[in-house]
Symmetry: C2
Subunit: 241 residues, 2 copies
């Protein structure tokens, strides 16, 4: 049983301002919620779930049994999937370590699906940190959380004034993904540095691009004007690492 106020509260968490003021986010579906339940740096506050999920998982903490109709009301998905969790935003005990790691810097990645996919592929390639410009999609947007498939608990994501942040880290090599740079398939592998990915239609802003040491490109053989930002990130990481 779920109250009107609870429905209203959960729906409000679809908006960034409420997630920020409450310092929480929503995650849905058994696979994602199970990952959050076992992640050491994620604290689930409330679970709204169908009886079958509760009986199977037997989670601790506050669990509210809901009907399919109630789940529909609080779900952000077109097809609700057994459980909705409200969790505290992920916390990290120590500072980000850039030395000896490859980090991503995202300049105005606005599509939540792209953002989530990039978080997930960072996790595939062992990238530990993603630094986002302030105008990137919010990493706790429900669509980002769903597309990241639990990788948000393993990847540190920070929002900064990107040019300022890059200036502060100017000891590291900074690679910019552009349309007219060096062929990434012919570059030497690296084990440290920052890879900048730009907005899909506008690319990397001049202000940010100026701070890169190297410009790299995925060679094109056909006629498409550009590659999807997440696809480009995956291809570059697979060649650089």
């Amino acid at each position: 049983m779920i109250t009107k106020n609870q429905v209203k509260y959960i729906q409000s968490l679809g908006q960034k301002k409420w997630r920020d003021s409450e310092h929480v986010f929503i995650a849905e579906g058994p696979k994602l919620v199970n990952e959050l339940l076992t992640a050491a740096n994620c604290k689930i506050i409330q679970l709204y779930a169908l009886k079958e999920w509760i009986d199977q998982i037997k989670p601790g903490g506050e669990v509210i049994e809901v009907t399919i109709d109630e789940l529909q009301k609080i779900s952000q998905l077109s097809t609700p999937n057994q459980v909705v969790a409200i969790a505290k935003k992920i916390t990290w005990e120590s500072e980000a370590v850039l030395e000896g790691n490859i980090s991503l810097a995202l300049d105005e990645i606005q599509d939540p699906g792209n953002m989530g996919t990039i978080i997930r592929l960072a996790d595939w390639f062992g990238v530990k940190n993603i630094f986002c410009s302030m105008n990137c999609a919010d990493s706790y947007n429900p669509k980002v959380v769903q597309a990241s498939m639990g990788s948000i608990t393993r990847i540190r994501i920070e929002y900064n004034d990107l040019p300022m942040w890059l200036k502060k880290n100017n000891g590291l090599s900074v690679y910019a993904s552009v349309l007219n740079g060096d062929d990434v398939t012919k570059m030497e592998k690296i084990n440290e540095g920052i890879l900048i990915i730009g907005n899909e239609s506008k690319g990397i802003s001049d202000q940010v691009l100026r701070l890169a040491n190297a410009r790299i490109t995925i060679p094109r053989r056909g006629k498409a004007e550009s590659l999807n930002a997440a696809v480009a990130t995956g291809i570059i990481l697979s060649h650089l690492i």
Copy 2:
């Protein structure tokens, strides 16, 4: 000015059965529509556009001037963008040529965004043909068309019984993207063959996988369980080609 019947007709084209019976599809936005207008194998039947677009482009054929409110009614996008086109499905004068080319075979790629992104990246890498299992997303789904960014006019897309089709083409090397195959970053480049990409949660079906000569994998360094299907396709193509 647009009539109620026209609105109803255009809205109906969001559904596959009406696109199939009418043999048409919808495309939106100046960039995509301009690409279709210049593609030799695409015939636009009707354009519904704002005055500003008509004045700037001066397209031939049937053009209906609409207001922003009217455009909103017929658009499939959350933010309508100047023009909606109804076009005949793309036609090809000759048969698909597999020899000397790399082709993609998609086994149950259901997400329209993934499908469109794969079409676009095929076009980036010079892949000419995509063969889809019957349960893939429809390549004329408006979301696929938008995500493909005009590449649908350059890539031949066919739907077949995939196991049957693979058996018919057993003279070519068939590579399957799986989680436990040979490291794709260490393989020799190829200039001919078929690359199979499977459904994101289920992977490639047994029936299809059995028909592959080689199993290839993108090495994982982190903890994500899987990669997005479009990202995986892009990474594999960038290493194979």
